[in-house]
Structures are given as structure tokens and as C-alpha cells.
Symmetry: C2
Subunit: 297 residues, 2 copies
Amino acid sequence: MATQILPEFSRKYRSLLEEEMRNRIQILQAPAVIKDAMQYSLEAGGKRIRPLLTFATISAFKKDASIGLDVAVSIEMIHTYSLIHDDLPSMDDDDLRRGKPTNHKVFGEAMAILAGDSLLTYSFQIISEINPAIVNDAKKLEMILELSKAAGAEGMVGGQVADIEAEGRSLELKDLEYVHIRKTGKLLAYSVLAGAILSDADKKTKDYLSHFAHHLGIAFQIQDDILDLEGDQELIGKPVGSDENKNKSTYPALLSIEGARKALQNHIDEAKRNLIASQLDTKILEEITDLVASRNH
Amino acid sequence: MATQILPEFSRKYRSLLEEEMRNRIQILQAPAVIKDAMQYSLEAGGKRIRPLLTFATISAFKKDASIGLDVAVSIEMIHTYSLIHDDLPSMDDDDLRRGKPTNHKVFGEAMAILAGDSLLTYSFQIISEINPAIVNDAKKLEMILELSKAAGAEGMVGGQVADIEAEGRSLELKDLEYVHIRKTGKLLAYSVLAGAILSDADKKTKDYLSHFAHHLGIAFQIQDDILDLEGDQELIGKPVGSDENKNKSTYPALLSIEGARKALQNHIDEAKRNLIASQLDTKILEEITDLVASRNH
């Protein structure tokens, strides 16, 4: 097996990311409780897969990945807001997230809603404030446009709506993909696209990366469903089988567990084919892809 | 009394605004229910005071107010999102808004939260997409920055947090102003500032307009509190005295009703002084100011 460079890359940029997120919350002139609520969920951890995709994409262009720091922060804030709102009693009603009490269990529902609202709002501010010596105005606006499309009614929020509407109904594969492409796929794809925008990628390269991200996103969700069915509760931080208990459609339910594993492998293969076609230096992106396929939490 | 030009101006631009908001929702590629939920609250009406402030500010520079249409739409979407989230059971728990059932009473809590989230997200998209022949990139980014500050943890959301924290406690005047400057003042001020940015205002003119908007915002809130105490339930669309029942601090409670009326007049006078000092053609802005002071709903 070739030497892995992702672990070192991941340690370095996660640390940069987490320090910058803390700074960003700390400097806010706002009531302490909302800053605490925002920070609580930002530091609840997770794999930081979206920011890592941005950093790794920039690296693939042999550029300094740290030019993506502000954008990575804004993406992780949007992702975190979506988790806070998804966990609310009126949505998925989850008490635990990554083994810790969810935001509304600690701060109450009102504060959790507002913490999500302010993380979402702040993410756009952070892009607009990027040092103009690093990112010009046209690129900032392209990122704001793509982020709002990925996160809004046509993207992540639309996916959550479709997911809620699907509860208790059994979906066909195409409907399940409609949900997941929007609910998780579009923000993952944006994370890659933002790295490409920051690296001045041409149209053709953006297309390869976008296909890569599309397949990675579906693979990510299939693995999520498999883990929910078979994972270790300690590692995934929520009860195993909770999707099944909520009567949610999943890839294993539709395709059988073996069929889901096969679909996962197909999407991983497609993702990698697009990386190779891009002719970039995609070693770290490939390692992230392997991680998605083999992760156990 | 001089001839009023606001009624005709208001009719024209409200109609433009409402048509454009409908178009914006209609073109979304999203599940029907989320589009319905967004549209329901957007068309629930209200005075459209924020968009009118943007249009009237552009007019004060003797420019075509319709260059502010997209920005006006984005402001009304942010305002509407804040009403939807404020009305939720875990926040103010209001069943009626302007005499109609609140969003969550019609669409359920989950959908109301998501409708708010997508209106907030869409508002940034709409600014980023403005025709570059009308607004250049630098101005779009300035508006996105100022909007996110006005709406986020340092602005509107921070005000809502402070308002929740104040419930059941009696506030001093400065704490009450902390709440209102953030909860309603900053978005009102942004509505004026956005018009100034679109009109290429210089720093000094922006400052006069910003002081105008500051005083207008406080006047607006004082009048709100007076109406809550003395208004006509039919006209204001919610039970009279509902703030009192919730044990909320108000201007009349702190200053007496006569003191509140006097403070209202002082802020209206200050607002108008700043309009005069700006040396712009502020006839419509003055009429909006008079409307705020004398409105009965």
C-alpha cells in the first residue's frame, strides 16, 4: 500500500479550520449565549469532510490549500447549521449527534434555531469579507451564488423537504437519489467546486471535478445507510438501525445489503475515473474517496 | 397639507415587488410544498416598509428606483424569514400574523423552519445574481456584507436572542434599545443603506442616511409598542396587549404612555433633521417617516 498523505494533510488543515472557526465566533459582538450555541455545534467535530474536499481540491492544482480557509469555514458553518436544524424536535427529533447531546438539548429549541440561522447568515458574510488580495470580487460572487444554490430550496433544504415528505412511504431508487443528491450531494459538490473556483479551473476541469463530487456524494450516502444498519453505535454516535426504526427508505432496503455495497463500489470507481481524467494531482482526493468508502463512523 | 406622493409611489413599487417575489418563487426547482410555504408568508402582505425605504432612498438621489428591485426582494425575503421563525412555538408561539394563521399553523413546524431557511439563503443568491449592467461586483459584495451583518448574530438574530433572554425581566431603557436596534433597527437601516450604495452615495451622505434610519427604526418600535397597548385588534391583526400579557418590557411600560409618545416625536424629529442635512430630494422618505409615526397598524 502506498504511503498515505491524507492523515498529515487532514491534521494540518483541520487544526487551521478549527482555530479559524473559534476566532470567527469569538470576534462576534453578540450575546454570549448565541456565540456559545454556535461554537458548541461547530466544535462537536466530525470528519470535516467538506472543508477537506476544498483544501484537497486546491492542492490538486498544486496551489497553497490555505487560500481556501475562509471558504472552508463558511462551508462547515452551513453544514453545521443544517445539522442543528435537522436534529430539532419538529424534524428528526434527535437527542444525540456524534455522541453528544444535540444543540437544542443543551440550549433549548429557540436558541438552536437561532444558532442555525446565524451560522447560515455568517457563512455568506465570511465569503464577502475574504481578503481581496487572495480572491477577487468575481470569484467571491460566483462562490456565494453556487453556495446559495447548493444550500437553499433547490439544494440542501429541498432535499430535507423531500426527505420529510418521504417519511413512512417507500421510495423508488430515483426518488431516494433526488433526496440525497440535494440533502448531502450538493454541498459536497460545492466544496469541490469552491476549490476549483479558487484555483482558476477551466470549464472542462470543473466538469470532471463536478462528476467526481456527484459520485462521491452518492457513495457517501450509501455508506451512511450501510453504517446505520451495521455500524457500531459507539463509533457512529447514534443508535444503530435508527433509520429503519423511523421507517425511512435506504439504499440497503431498496437494493439489499449486497446490492448497496455493489452500488457503493460503482460510484467510488466512477468518482476515481473522473479524478484521473482531470489530469490534476489528485492523490489526496483519491485518499478521501477511499476513506468515504471504508469509513466506520 | 402638501400633496402626498407616497401613496402612488407605494402602489407602483409594491406591485413591482410582489410580482417579482412571485416570479422568484415560481422559478425555483424545488418541492411544491416548500415553494407554497415560502410564497404564503411572502404574500401575507404588510406595509413593505423596508423595500419602500430602499426604493425611496434611490429616488432621493433622483435615480430610477426600479434599479433596487432585486435588493428590495432580498430584504423582504429576509424580513419574512425572521417573522416565520419568530412566530414558531419555541419562540413567540404566535398563531396569527396580520390576521392570518402563521406559517407553522398552516404548513407545520418543520416546513416553517425550512421555509425560513430557504428565504434567508435565497436572499443572498438574489443579490449575487443581479444584472452586472445595473450593479457592479463591488457593490453587490458590499450589500451582501452589510445584509449579513444586519441580519446575523450581530444584528437581527442577536436582537431576537436578547429579546428572549429579557422575557420576564424588567429592562432598563438602554437594554430595551439594545434589543430593538438589533431586532428591527439594523434591517431597516440596511434597507436605506442598500439604496445609498446603489445610488453611489458618498460617505457623508451615507452617514446622514444612516442616522436617519437609526432614529426611524427606534420610532418604528415605539409606535409598535404603543399600538400593542392601544391599537385596534382588527387593524393590527393580533390581540391588543399581547406584549403586556407576555410580560415583555416596552417603551410605554418604561416611560409611561405620554413619555413614549414624546420619545417617538423626538426620534421622528431627529430622523427628519438628518434627511434635511443630506440635501437629497427626500420628500418620499419624509412621508414614510410620517407614516411610521402615525400608522394605526
